[in-house]
Amino acid sequence: MLDILQYEFIHNAILAGIIVSFASGIIGSLIVVNRMVFLAGGIAHTAYGGIGLAIYFSLPIFLGASLFACAAALLMAFITLNQRHRIDTFIGLIWAVGMALGIILVDLTPGYNVDLISYLFGSILAVSKDDLIYMGGLLFVIVILLFIWYREILAVSYDTQYASLRGINVKFFYTLILVLSSLTVVVAIKVVGLILVIALLTIPIYIAEKLSSSLAGMMIKSGFISSTFTLIGLAVSYNYDLTSGASIIMVSAVGFILFLIGSKILNRG
């Protein structure tokens, strides 16, 4: 099995898996503690509109999808901050429309026949050097922003109203979290695909939350747990010739169930 390590695409896949695991571990923690999982799901699916747009205008996929997902995140931030009623309905609407737009744009692209499945379920084995640079750059930006604004982000996430009373610009940080989520979702699509992105943003996070007593600790632990699941999933996918994204999620699900059983037994004993 070790002989697979000589291939460059395997190196890229492993690196991408680790980078995306840490990005999604950090951002997933913010999404979970801010109860934005449904919002993140909406953004993930809306991002397909950006993929369609990028294919139609022959732009780089990451660029098209990132810009489109950012726009969707800003729109969702605007709606959730200003519209108190039926927010979930609006998210559902943006979710479906983004996806439909992507599919129609792909239909309209002449001679196009790239496989939709690779965006739905990820294509970690097809990660290029450029993709890696983009992913690494994003993780770097996320870490820097957290270093600068950890206190404010923590305050807004824990108690929004109190943070606003203390003069913190809640709307800015809420929007920032959503925009960073949208960018992370786009790179996670490359690894596990947009259907499964939510699992990557929730399963390792749930386990890490139970094991942590600080938000920063939760983020780091999520990154390690997610990396473990991703690398095991990758190995399973290679050995049994299975779809990589789905394998990663199944490994995560097994890990999740083992964690639940383990913590039940420990609590009883």
Partner: protein
């Protein structure tokens, strides 16, 4: 010294007015209880004072200045401290949120940490500072929230239903703590728990769109205490306060 002065305040969310012609003034080291029925506007009044909502007409002055977002000398303990208990955060980090930084710095300064520890000591929770907030009882968590409000050394402390979801022993502990704090700062409590709060407050404002204000610091309080055989229902209470509508 007048700490809080509200003049002809009116407010409405949409067409129907929530508060009409509220006039209220409290002095240094008062203990004001704001009572009234659900939907009567108690919490809205608090939101207006804290400038979460803007008044439609009238004025609110705190320490002789009209209110703004810069409210360092105001402490606030929100309602529902039992939400978000899964959040991975330690007691000390919750208290540290009371501070916001004016200049950029990494982490928390020594001064901020010592203020937070001091505040935890004041509420008797210093031994819990490394505990996860979710592992505390409702009453303990409420005391941590009070510590968070105290960490910036406020001159006035607002509490919104501080004992709503706490058992009887915990409630008494909270009110005894507030009584102790009242020796040095002004306290305003929004509560429907009138039977308990009357033992501690020296002023009562009954809010139901309009305000009925009672100064019960002297003789009136004795009458109430005499009649109070441990329990007081809101109807009895309102009947009694109604009699002396001064």
């Amino acid at each position: 010294m007048t700490i809080l002065n509200i003049k002809d305040l009116s407010f409405s969310y949409s067409k129907d007015s929530v508060l009409e012609n509220i006039n209220l003034s409290i002095e240094d080291k008062d203990f004001l209880a704001i009572i009234g029925p659900n939907g009567g506007g108690k919490s809205t009044l608090l939101k207006l004072i804290l400038s979460i909502e803007k008044p439609k007409s009238g004025s609110i002055e705190v320490f002789g200045r009209s209110i703004s977002k810069d409210i360092k000398n105001i402490g606030y303990v929100p309602q529902n401290t039992n939400v978000n208990t899964d959040f991975p955060i330690k007691v000390i980090d919750v208290v540290l949120m009371g501070h916001t930084r004016s200049v950029f710095s990494f982490g928390y300064s020594d001064l901020e940490i010592s203020c937070a520890k001091e505040a935890l000591k004041q509420v008797g929770m210093e031994q819990f500072l490394d505990k996860k907030i979710g592992d505390l009882s409702g009453g303990q968590r409420q005391r941590v929230m009070i510590a968070r409000a105290l960490s910036t050394h406020p001159d006035i402390l607002f509490l919104d239903e501080p004992t709503a979801s706490i058992d009887v022993d915990g409630q008494k502990m909270i009110y005894d703590l507030l009584k102790e704090l009242n020796k040095s700062i002004t306290i305003v409590v929004v509560s429907h728990d009138i039977s308990i709060i009357l033992g501690y407050a020296n002023k009562v404002a009954h809010i139901n769109k309009n305000i009925v204000f009672h100064d019960i610091s002297q003789q009136q309080k004795q009458t109430i205490n005499k009649a109070n055989d441990g329990h007081f229902c809101e109807v009895e209470m309102l009947q009694m306060l109604g009699k002396c509508r001064c």
